[in-house]
């Protein structure tokens, strides 16, 4: 495999990195140190298969820095890593007008689907509240990280 094949691997690694930054950093460091694309692909595939990129290893928080530096400072002092969240539309032209059109179409063609939407929202809020409540009582490791087992416990 040529070294040119590394671009997709690095792209994939970039998307998985927030789930295990030290491992992603190690792989990038080794690849830049002269390891082959084959080696990089093998490492990524093994890491995914072993579940090393399954759960974020650091508590995820919204990046509030542009809004309130005091809150961001507090998050950092609690060893919570602020993470940027893309709140923009996933596609060009799918903005407020697109959503309004979608809502209009749903209302006219299959109005009953709104019950599912409402049910989804209620379930999502309930699940989020439950997870937030349980996370408050979740013991943190000494390094401020949440480990795989602890995350798994949230869903048991």
């Amino acid at each position: 495999m040529t070294r040119g094949m590394s671009a997709p691997a690095l792209w994939l690694l970039g998307h998985l990195a927030h789930r295990n930054e030290p491992l992603a950093g190690d792989l990038v460091e080794q690849f830049r140190g002269g390891r082959s694309s084959t080696w990089l692909w093998a490492q990524i595939v093994c890491a995914v298969a072993m579940g090393e990129f399954r759960h974020p290893r650091v508590p995820v928080a919204l990046n509030l820095t542009p809004i309130d530096p005091i809150v961001a400072e507090w998050l950092i002092s609690r060893r919570l890593t602020p993470r940027r969240v893309n709140l923009s539309s996933p596609g060009e032209g799918v903005g407020g007008l697109g959503l309004m059109m979608l809502g209009f179409l749903l209302s006219t063609v299959v109005p009953d689907v709104w019950w599912f939407v409402m049910g989804g929202i209620v379930c999502g809020v309930a699940l989020g509240t439950m997870l937030a409540f349980r996370r408050r009582h979740q013991p943190m490791a000494t390094d401020g990280r949440i480990h795989t087992g602890q995350l798994r416990d949230l869903f048991v």
């Binding site: 930054e21 030290p22 491992l23 950093g25 093998a42 093994c46 490791a141």
Partner: protein
């Protein structure tokens, strides 16, 4: 305190971490196992084992500063705890005890 006997891979990880010293993170640990132990390992397997060892209190970890050569990602440094050292010694003792008294293993190299 319960006795903790290590698997062969856990034992290699702990020994490699001790050999590397203060700068022990995924890459040097995997390299040390390959170079000294003669076993090629996947970096993810090293992290999986270290996570397990950390949950058992045999190692601790702390996150360093992000560096450009790692794409701005931080290293996670590992240290073996006194409990980890005790587990290594207990495992060594158990293996040596098993080794003794086997006629096929007496003498020099086979």
């Amino acid at each position: 305190m319960p006795r903790h006997l290590l698997t062969d891979f856990e034992l290699m990880i702990l020994l490699a971490t001790l050999r590397v010293g203060d700068s022990a993170y995924g890459v040097p640990i995997a390299t040390e196992i390959g170079r000294t132990g003669g076993r090629r390992v996947v970096v993810a397997a090293v992290y999986a084992a270290l996570d397990r060892l950390e949950r058992n209190g045999l190692v601790t970890s702390n996150v360093g500063e992000p560096t450009p050569e790692r794409g701005g990602r931080a290293k996670r440094f590992f240290q073996v705890t006194p409990q980890g050292i005790r587990a290594v010694k207990e495992t060594q003792r158990a293996l040596v005890a098993l080794w003794k008294g086997i006629p096929e293993l007496k003498g020099g190299n086979v």
